[in-house]
């Protein structure tokens, strides 16, 4: 069964124009996302340059193993997403559905591991706020690291949740065969979004988990 709605919206002249508009719109949206995260990265850079020694202590508290696993999980999910996009272009319904499901499962795995990490922080009183405890010098400055950690990874996780929600919306439509060689830009645009969220993590992981660890190893 094909898409019950006409493929071409009335205000476009051709399918190409429609697809190119959607793609450009998505890129513009991603620019706004870069600026959105940019504000947080700026805050991180400002405070890190001011409190770098203390940020190393904060960084040391993070679970680098789980962080690394999550990095691998996300990179794999970008790979499965890329296959899904290709399948939609070819009109390969079965592969599309399979790899969308796989992408979603990897996304959920990421969120699950993230939840475990958050829970660890909660147990160790490392969540900023009235219950924050730090038995070392300058607890306020360490708390700042965790404020940024939760703000940045939390916002990233929120984007992952939105992504999983979007896959749930795309899945039944893919199963019904809406997407094929003429009409696949919803999958393509979602792919761009997913890769973007992945790339944000690629920056978050070294900034939060890795920088300054050498002080403790060496």
């Amino acid at each position: 069964m094909a898409n019950p709605q006409p493929l071409l919206a009335t205000h476009f002249d051709t399918l190409d124009q429609q697809r190119e508009s959607a793609s450009l719109g998505m890129w513009v949206f991603l620019i706004t996302e870069v600026m959105f995260f940019g504000g947080l990265f700026t805050a991180y850079i400002v405070y890190r340059s001011r409190l770098h020694g203390l940020f190393d202590y904060g960084s040391h508290e993070l679970n680098v193993t789980l962080g690394a696993i999550n990095t691998i999980v996300l990179i794999c999910s970008s790979f499965t997403m890329a296959i899904a996009v290709r399948a939609s272009q070819l009109g390969d319904r079965r592969t599309l559905v399979r790899f969308l499901v796989l992408t979603m499962l990897l996304g959920l795995t990421f969120l699950g591991i993230k939840a475990v990490e958050y829970q660890e922080k909660f147990v160790h009183h490392l969540v900023p706020g009235p219950h924050f405890q730090w038995h070392g010098p300058q607890p306020r400055q360490i708390e700042m690291f965790f404020s940024l950690y939760f703000a940045m990874t939390g916002l990233h996780a929120l984007h992952m949740i939105v992504g999983v929600g979007l896959i749930l919306w795309l899945l039944p439509r893919s199963a019904k065969g809406f997407y094929g060689p003429d009409y696949h830009h919803p999958i393509e645009c979602f792919g761009l979004y997913w890769h973007f969220v992945d790339i944000v993590w690629i920056f978050l992981f070294p900034l939060l988990y890795l920088l300054g660890r050498s002080h403790f190893v060496g």
């Binding site: 919206a9 009335t10 205000h11 476009f12 002249d13 124009q17 190119e20 508009s21 450009l24 719109g25 513009v28 949206f29 620019i31 706004t32 996302e33 870069v34 600026m35 959105f36 995260f37 940019g38 504000g39 947080l40 700026t42 805050a43 400002v46 405070y47 001011r50 900023p128 706020g129 009235p130 306020r140 400055q141 708390e143 700042m144 404020s147 940024l148 939760f150 703000a151």
Partner: protein, 539 residues
Amino acid sequence: MPSTERAVLETEDYINADYNIKSWLLTTDHKRIAVLYLISVTLFFLIGGLFAVLIRLELLTPQGDLMQSDTYNRVFTMHGVTMVFFFLIPSIPTVLGNFLVPMMVGARDLAFPKVNLASWYVFNLAGMFTLYAMFAGGVDTGWTFYTPYSTTYSNTHVVATGLGVFIAGFSSIMTGLNFIVTIHRMRAPGLTWFRLPLFLWAHYATSLVMILGTPVIAITTLLLAVERGFKIGIFDPNLGGDPVLFQHLFWFYSHPAVYIMVLPAMGVISELIAAFARKPVFGYKIVAASSMSIAILGFLVWGHHMFVSGQSVYAATVFSVLSMLVAVPSAVKVFNWTATLYKGSVSFETPMLYALGFIGLFTVGGLTGVMLATLGLDVHVHDTYFVVAHFHYIMVGGTIMAYLGGLHFWWPKMSGRLYPQFWSRLSALIIFVGFNLTFFPQFLLGYMGMPRRYHVYPEEFQVLHVLSSAGASILGVGYILPVFYLTWSMRYGPRASANPWGATGLEWQTSSPPPTHNFLETPVVTTDAYHYSEEVTVG
């Protein structure tokens, strides 16, 4: 020249296409959404105006007799928040832009009609948050929400208002995104970039600022709300944060936001000047480029709001010089509009009165802007009425004049009706006189040392304050008049022809009001914009 003026006999247009309320609330037609936005922003303008009335009433006397300091703080904050985020930023793009961008490019709609409708709902949701904060007791931080006052010490509704601003930002982003994609991808055959009306160049530049700046204010207000709600320290120095970082992030958006307000206004003025001087805009390409350079330079000057905030002298000097640079493209526009008038067949219809008013007031606002960009002088007049007068000359004298001028210019197209020329000219005149009487005394007040945001002042300032309040009441009359005669015209005004002003531009080649899909067949463009050199058929 369009050789044949199509006799459009079809009676169906976007207004009478369907009458039920659902057809309006669920519409994806950009023209209907423009009308919905017109209603929303007019409402917020009236609310913001009411707060202005309270401010000017209080300032009639040197004592605080109408309200106490706490109340006054809330009143000027709500005036600023409502006017900036819910009127000035959305007004021209969402009303005139929404209506005209697709028509000017010769398209049937914006690229993403559903996103466009969503933006209206998001905008109103944001408005609800702000109205809630207003009715629950208001907010007293000033529209700038400076930390740590806003995060720690103010016990008013900062979170609700902040969320209102946060959410309103998304409606801005959706509008900007839609305009960019529409202008890139949906131009009619033959409509090359350098044939675009300058209104579109201005809206393209505005959209760039919207998509690059707005996300930053979004994350900033979000952090503010989180810090306040969960006592997490990002900006509060007691919690290890840096309040100056807030100012940097805030002004990184809020200075470019000034260009979100004034760039579309400049686009409107280019259209009006060309139409009523019957000449192409002088130096079309330079004017188009000046819009783009204002958008870019606008991102490099935010530090001029922070000359006294503990920024290094080096940074302040750089920001001072960069701020003065913005005057160059702005002046280019003013000179080119003036040059367009030279040897033109100028006629003084209502929209043109607004346009000429804009040029004068914007020049005063712009030149005082250069004064304020001067590091030494700014330290002297910082946080005084001089600054208040300066930005009101740009925002009220510039943006609102252009908005009203544009509304009067395109009203026959939007409503299909003509409005009374006598009353509309009179209101344009009243607004110009009232505006100057309101805000010119504030330059003097500020230079003499009257600080902003105070309601008790030394007696020697009273004469100027009374003049300003008197001007505000005249200005109020000028703003109320159009509400009446434009509403009146919707029912009783004579029907407008397709092109009542004899203007060029694709929007005038279709009937008034336009059919739902704007054009019966896709127009083909064969000439440059403002092709006024030959006789233009009126009617």
